[in-house]
């Protein structure tokens, strides 16, 4: 048994781990080291749940031989005494791009076809991509990761919707890839983001990515079943990778839900890379059953010193700063399994401090350790060799001087596969303290701090502080200081050995060259313990403040979701939209979310009575054409996108939902944009502010799809003319072509023969069969006429023309076809095809017998659709009762929802608005907006919310100022922008 200096050990280890058995050696004899190494007297965290004090860890050939209190130590063992030290299994980061160069942007857009052949038709699907093909071990990054405690990382190519296989790499700086590559094919990676290396336009939105993934899975099945004669190396790879762990980079709470939804449809449970905002709707996240790979990229406090700039900061951004550090705790508390990752950090260096922050905010240390060791190991199927220090595991461990999750704890060494990586010399003596010494008759006081990390010295003589420089390594102190005589620039040098951590012993060389012996004694400290104790007590009582999470988690969100009530409105003017017309002095009772009674002198025991005298009640406003509350609007990557659906991208935290409620809107159709002739499927939602995206969508929602004609689809304002069609003539042919193919598809499907499931064709077949309705963006009469003719040719009916600004020119034909018109009240002059748009359009269509709605297509106008309806009174003399129907009953009819909403009729949904004045008047305000008996907007409550927002913002501002004053880093204020969507809006940065 020999006790050797650590450096020697490193030397030896590096030899023992190099070459493989069957490799020839031409540089000497093959000399394998078969010695054991034992780490004794340590506190060993064998696993997050098993801690052994005063234990021994015995390793050989990079693996753990045994661990425990009584370990049998063979004779050929090098022993390392770790008294007072702690051993942890090293960490695993299962989501990195370690050793992979950031892919470079390629090509010039736009491009509609694929760049490759022999692979899937879409460049962004690359399951065949093997990360090892572009992997280059990066020792420098590895060293950085060592400092954070990582020993093994999973890496992948971060590019594309399907990104191919990832590999598991041990961060062993003293080996080659033959040793380091723990597994060359561990995972398959997916995301919603396109490859930057290809300019292929599709998919250009998240919903497009979702649809593409679904089609890909269907195609893979079809391919596997042998229905495709040609080669598709992508699908082959996809089928081959099926049994690997599937990791989906979602990056936000909302996208976690979306990724999970895609996986569920194909019985695939993705492991999902989250966004750190999962806490906002933790129940939803829990329901996915997904394991989350969790980034801890916590925000810095904003610099709120300048009140002008600070005033632009949104409550939601301020809350993110405050709430995100609670995310890991909340996931743990809710039983959601997660692994931690450095992914998403702007600098890896913040990993440790952010981890500590998560722990300060209540994440248990055991959970933290699990999330860094056993959980990733088990997800990767490597529990037998990674994540713990059980016999047979890789000798991947950390040596610290205490609890690794404490700030003051030092990480000395990070061993990977039996190779040590020294981060700090653990044999360095701590010589911090105050020393007194005498030199040439003068008394000096020396204060040393940070001796084991960044040594610093302060030297005082009498009342003078002398300029001092200090070095300290290998127990030797070098000290240089300026003499007390300030007129001279002369220095005294000291070299001293710290034989123990109480004395310094050596010599001093004076400014004149004379050498004197030097001896300094440490002054015993008195108060330290007391101080520490006090501090600890403080820490224990201080639980960090957390802003309440609201639904949705931004200004005007609800801390507690409002509930359905029994409400009795008394003495209102009630606009029934039914044959009863407008009823004066009438009561309306709503109960269980439905309209229960309408009449005079109603009473109900449990109802909350609301005096509505002098006020008006109407059905909730329905906007047939809206683009609020969606994360993407256009999938313009192809001329047909029937496969995409807005239902996939409903955004429940759009403030415009609330603002629309304040304008009396209760239901909207979120239409796909108008980038292509065949657009995407709609989401028809109720504005149930606070509910999760999927719960906003109507139950048994009628199925709709957006079509579009004219300038937008023929890309009139685009600089490139590369996508068919470029004229109205071509637009017709797109429809004829697609419906011809859809018909053939349907026939094949009905014949019972095998057919390739095609989401696009499935959608078009629904149209042919009258199960899905078209709302078509349209302007000029020629194209309107054309689409009705195409529909006639294929024996179906166009449901709605939206915009339809020249509808008045073909109102008779529309009536004959049976199509409705959903138009603007007075918009025109914004592009060439609206030259003949007139505000009398609604009136003329209505008078011709067409069902007419007034819509917004605009998050501002939708807040005052009642006024837009009133313009039909002004332009064209429509009666007020009919005008109101343009924004209530008629859109309900067009959306096939008039059996549920759109009028005030017993049995219908209690979707109502209480107005302060005549509902068509510019002077009217919505006082209450109610959906299914729940008051989602209330003017009085809105006032209270404003006060609460102000209060919470000032509290958070104070906390941020405290951080800044503590000297912590801050970030500049940012101004949150709302993405305002119109028909033409394309997803950006995608």
């Amino acid at each position: 048994m020999i006790k050797v200096h650590l450096r020697l050990l490193i030397f030896m280890c590096s030899f023992s781990l190099f070459a493989q058995d069957y490799f020839p050696s031409n540089s000497g004899v093959i000399a394998n080291n078969s010695n054991y190494t034992a780490f004794t007297n340590a506190t060993i965290h064998v696993s997050p749940t098993e801690i052994i004090d005063n234990a021994t860890l015995l390793i050989k050939d990079g693996k753990v031989v045994s661990v425990g209190k009584s370990v049998n130590i063979p004779k050929n063992t090098t022993k390392i005494d770790l008294s007072g030290k702690t051993i942890y299994p090293s960490f695993i980061d299962m989501y990195t791009t370690f050793g992979v160069e950031k892919p470079k942007r390629g090509g010039n857009g736009p491009q509609y076809g694929a760049s490759r052949s022999g692979y899937y038709w879409n460049d962004h699907i690359m399951p065949e991509q093997d990360v090892m093909a572009s992997f280059k071990y990066d020792a420098k990054s590895a060293s950085e990761l060592h400092k954070l405690g990582f020993g093994v990382v999973n890496t992948h190519m971060p590019d594309g919707v399907v990104r191919g296989t990832g590999a598991l790499i041990a961060l062993n700086n003293n080996a080659d890839n033959a040793m380091r590559v723990v597994d060359g094919e561990t995972t398959q990676h997916l995301s919603f983001r396109k490859s930057v290396r290809s300019r292929q336009s599709y998919p250009s939105s998240i919903m497009g990515s979702m649809a593409l993934l679904r089609q890909m899975y269907n195609d893979a099945k079809w391919y596997e079943a042998g229905h495709i004669d040609t080669k598709d190396l992508s699908l082959e790879a996809l089928n081959k990778n099926k049994n690997l762990l599937q990791i989906f980079e979602a990056g936000s709470r909302a996208n976690v839900m979306r990724a999970d939804k895609v996986g569920d449809a194909f019985n695939i449970q993705y492991t999902i890379v989250g966004g750190g905002d999962e806490y906002e709707r933790i129940d939803e996240i829990k329901r996915t059953n997904a394991t989350i790979i969790l980034p801890i990229d916590f925000q810095l406090a904003y610099d709120v010193n300048d009140p002008f700039l600070a005033s632009t900061l949104s409550l939601s951004d301020m809350r993110s700063w405050n709430q995100e550090p609670h995310n890991p705790r909340l996931l743990a508390e809710n039983g959601i399994k997660f692994a931690l990752t450095t992914h998403g950090l702007k600098s890896n260096k913040t990993f440790s401090s952010n981890l500590m922050k998560a722990i300060e905010n209540g994440l248990s240390k055991q959970k933290a350790l699990e999330a860094l060791t056993t959980i990733p190991a088990s997800l990767l199927g490597k529990s037998d060799v990674l994540g713990t220090l059980k016999t047979g595991s890789y000798a991947n461990f950390l040596i610290t001087d205490g609890d690794i999750f404490e700030k003051k704890t030092k990480l000395f060494e990070n061993w990977v596969q039996g190779t040590p990586h020294v981060i700090a010399n653990m044999n360095t003596k701590d010589i911090d303290g105050d020393y007194n010494f005498k030199l040439a008759g003068n008394d000096y006081k020396l204060t040393i701090t940070g001796s084991t990390s960044k040594p610093k010295a302060k030297l005082e003589s009498g009342d003078q502080t002398l300029g001092t420089k200090m070095n300290y390594s290998d127990d030797w102190v070098n000290l240089t200081f300026k003499t007390a005589d300030s007129t001279k620039k002369a220095y005294v040098r000291i070299v001293a050995n710290a034989a123990n951590n109480n004395t310094l012993n050596g010599k001093a060389i004076l400014e004149n060259g004379n050498e004197l012996s030097f001896f300094a004694n440490k002054v015993a400290k008195k108060d330290t313990n007391k101080k520490d104790g006090k501090k600890k007590a403080n820490d224990a009582t201080e639980t960090p403040f957390m802003s309440p999470i609201t639904y949705p988690n931004l200004a005007y969100g609800f801390t507690e979701k409002p509930k359905s009530e029994t409400l009795l409105f008394k003495n209102a003017t009630v606009w029934t939209n039914e044959k009863e017309g407008v009823l004066e002095q009438t009561d309306v009772l709503i109960k269980d979310g439905k309209i229960s009674k309408i009449g005079k002198d109603l009473s109900s025991k449990n109802a909350k009575v609301i005096d509505a005298s002098g006020k008006h009640i109407t059905a909730g406003i329905i906007d047939e054409h809206s683009h609020i509350a969606a994360s993407s609007i256009n999938e313009g990557g192809q001329n047909s996108s029937a496969e995409v659906t807005i239902e996939d991208v409903v955004n429940d935290e759009d403030i415009n939902i609330y603002r629309n409620l304040a304008g009396g809107v209760t239901s909207i159709q979120i239409l796909h944009g108008s980038a292509n002739p065949i657009g995407g499927r709609s989401a028809i939602i109720k504005l149930k502010w606070g509910e999760a995206a999927d719960d906003l969508i109507y139950d048994n929602s009628p199925k709709f799809i957006k079509f579009a004609l004219g300038e937008n689809v023929k890309q009139s304002r685009s600089r490139t003319n590369s996508r068919f069609p470029q004229s109205r003539m071509g637009v017709e042919q797109v429809f004829v072509d697609y419906f011809t193919r859809a018909k053939a598809y349907d026939e094949l499907k009905k014949s019972g023969k095998p057919y390739r499931h095609d989401a696009e064709m499935e959608t078009l077949v629904e149209i042919l069969n009258g199960e899905r309705f078209i709302s078509c963006h349209s302007y000029v009469q020629s194209e309107i006429n054309m689409l009705m003719k195409v529909a006639g040719q294929f024996d179906f009916r166009i449901n709605t023309f939206t915009h339809i600004l020249e509808g008045y020119k073909v109102a008779d034909k529309m009536k004959a076809h049976g199509v409705g018109g959903s138009t603007f009240s007075d918009w025109w002059a914004y592009k060439y095809e609206v030259n003949d748009a007139i505000p009398y359009n609604a009136a003329i269509m209505h008078n011709a017998g067409v069902t007419v709605a007034i819509n917004s297509d605009d998050a501002e106008m939708s807040r005052r659709l009642n006024q837009e309806a009133a313009k039909s009174v002004k332009y064209g003399g429509i009666s007020e009762e009919e005008a109101l129907k343009f924004v209530t009953l008629n859109p309900a009819k067009l959306l096939h929802l008039d059996d549920r909403v759109g009028s005030i009729k017993v049995g219908k949904d209690a979707d109502l608005v209480l107005w302060s004045d005549h509902p068509l008047s510019i002077y009217a305000k919505a006082e209450k907006t109610i959906i299914e008996g729940v008051t989602y907007f209330d003017l009085a409550r809105d006032q209270q919310m404003r006060e609460a927002i102000k209060k919470e913002k000032s509290e958070l501002t104070n906390l941020m100022l405290q951080e800044k004053n503590k000297g912590l880093k801050t970030q500049p204020v940012k101004k949150k922008e709302e993405k305002l969507m119109h028909c033409d809006t394309m997803d950006s940065h995608h």
Binding site: R717, Y840, I844, A870, Y923
Partner: protein, 436 residues
């Protein structure tokens, strides 16, 4: 009774003749007329019920309550307006009508010139009197407006026009009397193409940009004091700011920007200052009042700028400023602002739902813009001696429910209320049903 018939037949005649005279500016007033029985909304905060208004030679010669105002019936047409409402023609502050015809058609767009400092650029010469968009203002009572160039740091020089003219010369009411500046923004966007976060971050160049503008003004002032041996067109154009012949309109929305802009203008000796936009002007209302700075308040029908802002922020801003005594007019800039300018009365109406009285709201689109633009000697109110630029509505013109014009006059000229749009309406209302 006989009189009434005469009026009716006269009205009929007017309608018929003018019906086909679309786009043709109305001829000069040749015969006096009186509007009898209407509620006259003066535009200065007062209302005269059951009024008589006499118009002669394009000017109002009499206005008062019917009870106390004698009507001398000599060679005068009588317009019976009992139960109706009369208003001064509405005025579009910071308008751009006539500079762009179709937003998305570049060839029809003369809104802004290249370059940063363009005070010499004159909007009036590009003003298209034939614009179909401008013509559509008249049926809503919007009869006058500013023609304002956009873009750059100094966009150019504006003029004020009336909306029924043969060319820009007879359209002009006041020529070249406003200089328009875009104040540097407090926030700027990251350069995403350089890998920066594209979000809005505090503008690091703010002070630099302000200084550059300030230096430009100083240079211009020096030039205008000198002998101008070499003509400098831009500096020349700025001259009017320093002698009070031109007004400085500064586009600024944030509290700090507004304050800095006002202090900047004052420090350069500019006496006539208007803030355009003024989203946060309410926070500095008393400062604006003290400094005699007026505000062209940004489009009332616009969304709150920040997520946390009150849903009615834009609706209620006018009330806050008016209560503080600031002179406020409403401006329409933003998406589709030209065609939307006809909704100016409803912007005013919305301020009533959010705090102002109807009379106060009316001032925002009549007397106040007239004062600010320097045309209040003739326009903006219904007062004796002023131009008969007014209209008659079936009811409250600030509410779309009742804004229904029967007559409109500019300088006493009886305007056509027909437009490209009404013509199409009539034509297609009568289209025979076509069989497939």
């Amino acid at each position: 009774m006989k009189n009434l018939n005469k009026i009716n037949s006269l009205l009929f005649l007017l309608c018929v003749t003018l019906g086909f005279a679309q786009q043709t500016p109305a001829p000069k007033q040749t015969k006096d007329f009186a509007i009898v029985g209407a509620t006259a909304h003066i535009g200065n905060g007062t209302v005269i019920e059951n009024s008589i208004i006499v118009v002669s030679n394009g000017k109002i010669t009499t206005i008062g309550p019917q009870a106390t105002t004698p009507l001398t019936r000599q060679a005068m047409d009588i317009i019976d307006a009992k139960g109706k409402d009369v208003y001064p023609g509405f005025i579009v502050a910071n308008g751009t009508l006539g500079l762009v015809e179709v937003d998305a058609v570049k060839a029809s767009d003369d809104l802004s010139e290249m370059g940063t400092y363009n005070p010499h650029i004159r909007s009036i010469i590009a003003y298209n009197t034939e614009s179909k968009v401008t013509e559509s203002m008249r049926p809503n009572g919007v009869l006058l407006g500013q023609v304002v160039p956009r873009g750059g740091r100094i966009s150019g020089t504006s003029s004020v026009v009336q909306y029924d003219a043969w060319n820009w010369e007879d359209a002009a009411i006041k020529m070249d009397n406003g200089i328009h500046v875009n104040w540097p923004s407090s926030f700027s966007r990251g350069r995403w193409w350089l890998g920066e976060d594209p979000g809005l971050k505090p503008n690091k160049d703010y002070a630099k940009q302000v200084k550059e503008l300030s230096d430009y003004f100083s240079e211009s002032k020096s030039y205008n004091k000198g002998n101008k041996s070499e003509l400098h067109l831009p500096f020349e154009a700025l001259g009017g700011l320093f002698d009070g012949s031109k007004r400085l309109y500064i586009n600024a929305n944030d509290e700090k920007g507004i304050t800095d802009a006002v202090n900047f203008a004052k420090s350069h000796g500019v006496s006539k200052i208007t803030i355009v936009g003024g989203y946060q002007a309410g926070n500095v209302a008393s400062f604006l009042k003290q400094n005699d700075v007026s505000v062209f308040l940004r489009r009332i029908h616009s969304r709150p700028e920040l997520e946390d802002d009150d849903y009615d922020t834009s609706y209620k801003l006018a009330k806050k400023l008016v209560d503080a005594g600031v002179l406020v007019a409403l401006e329409p800039s933003g998406q589709m602002e030209r065609m939307n300018s006809r909704n100016l009365p409803f912007y005013a109406g919305t301020t009533v739902a959010h705090g102002l009285t109807k009379a106060q709201a009316l001032q925002l689109i009549t007397q106040n813009p007239a004062k600010i633009m320097g045309i209040d000697d003739m326009y903006g109110t219904l007062e004796v001696g002023k131009s008969a630029t007014l209209f008659i509505s079936e009811g409250d013109a600030l509410d779309m429910r009742t804004n229904q014009l029967t007559h409109a006059f500019i300088d006493g000229r009886n305007l056509s209320l027909e437009t490209h749009q009404t013509e199409l309406w009539k034509r297609f209302s009568e289209k025979p049903i076509q069989e497939d």
